[in-house]
């Protein structure tokens, strides 16, 4: 007898229902957050001038924050990504198993350290340790806009915050990249070797092209964490309302999330609305970044398919 209908049972129906509910619930939660931000934040878009102190209106208030958010995340990525890919490659292709397992374990452990601990460490220990480095950068590389100084006397700079952020996103990027590197088809690698490639050439020819889109997703996940990180930045960064590329001075832009965290508590109702409105902007920025990331990945996949 030909089977016209697929076999179903009660279990199938229940499981499909549960999965569908889960998927819809997350959409609902997201929509709920958006509605909340919009309703509560809307008055903040046009509050009295006083409320935006030391800026004048919403755009000039949120502008430096958006810049600070993206700038901190970008610098963190520039520091973290080479490290993370190096570590991932070492674990998947270079290290003997005896070494690879404990290293992978320690890296994963980094992800479990709460951000407030990173904040304490960054603000008290790392900032102190970086002081001479900042002075050196100021004296020797001061001609580069990134290091024009004057070097901060407390070490609580954008560079310090970016290094802390970098350490926080390394485990995410490493863990995902490592898994993808390890999944490179054995035959590709052996084929490259058979053609006389060295190990580095084999990685360049066989591993990187295969892992490309996966590594980009990993980097985007890391970027997401860096954009939204709150406590560590609030505790480390000496922040104010400016836009500057300078990484080593005491005058740095705050990030949206850290600005909300540090100012919400003492805020008057109008000011709270402004802060919530900046949260709405962060929501939009994160969306835009994720959207851009998807496009990049999709384009990469098309290239590979060709």
């Amino acid at each position: 007898m030909p089977r016209n209908k697929p076999v179903t049972s009660v279990g199938d129906t229940v499981f499909a229902g549960v999965a569908r509910t889960a998927a819809l619930a997350i959409m609902l939660a997201l929509a709920g957050v958006f509605v909340f931000l919009f309703i509560e934040g809307f008055p903040g878009l046009s509050a009295p001038t006083d409320v935006y102190r030391p800026a004048e209106d919403f755009l000039s208030y949120v502008g430096p924050l958006v810049f600070g958010t993206i700038w901190a995340a970008l610098v963190a990525l520039i520091i973290a990504v080479p490290f993370a890919i190096g570590i991932a490659l070492f674990i998947s292709h270079y290290a003997p198993a005896r070494l690879a397992v404990p290293i992978a374990y320690v890296i994963d452990l980094l992800a479990a350290v709460p951000s407030v601990v990173y904040g304490l460490w960054g603000g008290l220990a790392l900032a102190q340790a970086l002081k001479p480095v900042l002075v050196w950068l100021d004296t020797h590389l001061g001609f580069i806009p990134l290091f024009v100084g004057p070097a901060s006397v407390t070490g609580r700079t954008m560079l310090t915050a970016a290094i802390v952020l970098a350490i926080m996103i390394v485990p995410i990027v490493t863990a995902i990249s490592r898994e993808i590197f390890a999944q490179t088809p054995r035959l590709h690698e052996e084929a490259a070797m058979a053609l006389g490639a060295t190990r580095w050439e084999m990685i360049r020819l066989a591993v990187f092209p295969y892992a490309r889109s996966g590594v980009i997703s990993a980097v985007m996940l890391g970027l997401g964490r860096a954009l939204g990180e709150t406590m560590a930045v609030a505790m480390v960064l000496s922040a104010t309302q400016v836009v500057t590329l300078n990484l080593i001075s005491d005058t740095n832009p705050a990030t949206i999330a850290s600005n909300i965290a540090s100012n919400y508590k003492e805020a008057s109702p109008d000011r709270q609305a402004v802060l919530i409105a900046t949260g709405l902007v962060l929501f939009a920025v994160t969306f835009a970044v994720n959207f851009a990331a998807r496009m990049v990945i999709a384009r990469g996949e098309r290239k590979i398919a060709r």
């Binding site: 030391p54 603000g123 102190q128 407390t154 000496s238 003492e266 805020a267």
Partner: protein, 369 residues
């Protein structure tokens, strides 16, 4: 084989020990609780929820502990959510009392809303008075004399080195280095910043042009989050200067500020004296003891750079028990016992007698409907 079996035993073993230890702890606690229940000599009972200014938090802990010790049937919570959030929850009715670093005003309609919530103008009494110290980290220099104008110049970025003539003129015989000055301000909105900028703008002789506000009004410069953040940043750098609650300024050099012709170091007595000579805000009801601090006082021994944190309550509550609790707790806080407890725990300045008496009178009208 033997090794694996030991390993298997380790985890449950630890679990058992942990259970035993926590079990002991829990039973001890409940023993203590029942013992003090028997000692209860008052009729007060119930729960009292409040919150607000974080500056009061350590004082609130001391008050709560002492008050609950006397009245074992009472549970008081104070959530240090910040002044703004505290006022908001008081207006919405979520808190029966709230702490706030700035007296409630109608700049954003809060006083009107609070009056609506209470059915009458809310009661507002000063509860926590603390001198704000100007702290600095300059190796070899332990104390400095500065006037408000010079401090304003430093924080506005006009005076940039420690050997500036303006500083030297006030400090004869002090060997001032040419280190650059790095002023540290609060990055978060804070009542401390508001009181500090209020002092600079009123006493600064025109050297400070911005209005007082919770938010640091200038762009640029070193900043840090919270009192502890500022203290840590000042400690962490050389040539730094900042402002913080005097009780938390431990170990750093403190500025003596110019009052009249003298230079006064931060002290609880000085702050209390400055509060005593200050005027109440005009147009407030009897129960509202909001003060405009006289920053330019020349009173001998006064220290006009201080933070006054208030407590808000309603004159009437729907529930008679709520009213009894708020009245009893607030009466304790403004009493000399309560003020002394805060001074011991948080280093605050006890209210001067005349103001404490007035506060006691203000609180005494609280009643159920």
């Amino acid at each position: 084989m033997i090794r694996t079996s030991i390993r298997r035993a380790v985890v449950p073993g630890i679990a058992v020990i942990a259970l035993a230890v926590t079990g002991c702890g829990a039973s001890n606690e409940s023993d203590g609780g029942s013992a003090s229940d028997g000692d209860s000599g008052t009729s007060l009972s119930g729960e009292l929820a409040g919150g607000g200014a974080s500056s009061q938090d350590s004082a609130q802990q001391a008050w709560r502990a002492a008050f609950q010790g006397e009245n074992s049937g009472v549970t008081i919570t104070y959530d240090p959510v910040g002044s703004g959030a505290g006022r908001e929850s008081f207006i919405s009715g979520a808190y029966l009392f709230a702490g706030t670093d700035s007296y409630i005003s109608d700049d954003e309609g809060e006083l009107t809303k609070a009056t609506d919530t209470c059915g009458a103008e809310p009661i507002e009494v000063p509860a926590y008075v603390s001198p704000i110290a100007v702290i600095f980290n300059l190796p070899g220099v332990d104390s400095l004399n500065l006037d408000a104008k010079t401090i304003a110049g430093i924080f506005a970025g006009k005076i940039t080195t420690w050997d500036d003539a303006a500083i030297a003129a006030l400090n004869d015989g002090v060997d001032l280095p040419s280190t650059k000055i790095a002023p540290v301000h609060r990055s978060d909105d804070s009542g401390t910043t508001k009181n500090f900028t209020d002092y600079l703008s009123k006493a600064g002789d025109g050297a400070w042009t911005d209005d007082p506000s919770d938010t640091w009004p200038l762009k640029g410069g070193e900043s840090a989050e919270g009192t502890s953040g500022v203290v840590a940043a000042v400690k962490g750098g050389e040539g730094t200067i900042g402002y913080a609650d005097d009780s938390q300024a431990g170990g750093l050099g403190k500025v003596s500020i110019k009052v009249g012709e003298a230079f006064n170091a931060p002290s609880a007595d000085g702050a209390a004296k400055a509060l005593e000579v200050s005027k109440p805000v005009e147009g407030r009801g009897e129960g509202d003891m909001a003060f405009d601090i006289d920053r330019t006082t020349t009173e001998e021994g006064a220290y006009p750079l201080l933070l006054t944190s208030y407590l808000l309550a309603c004159p009437t509550y729907d529930d008679a028990n709520d009213a009894e609790l708020v009245k009893a707790f607030l009466t304790y806080i403004v009493s000399s016992d309560g003020q002394q407890a805060a001074a011991d725990a948080a280093g605050s300045a006890p209210l001067p007698d005349s103001i404490a008496q007035q506060a006691t009178d203000a609180v005494s009208v609280i009643a159920g409907k």
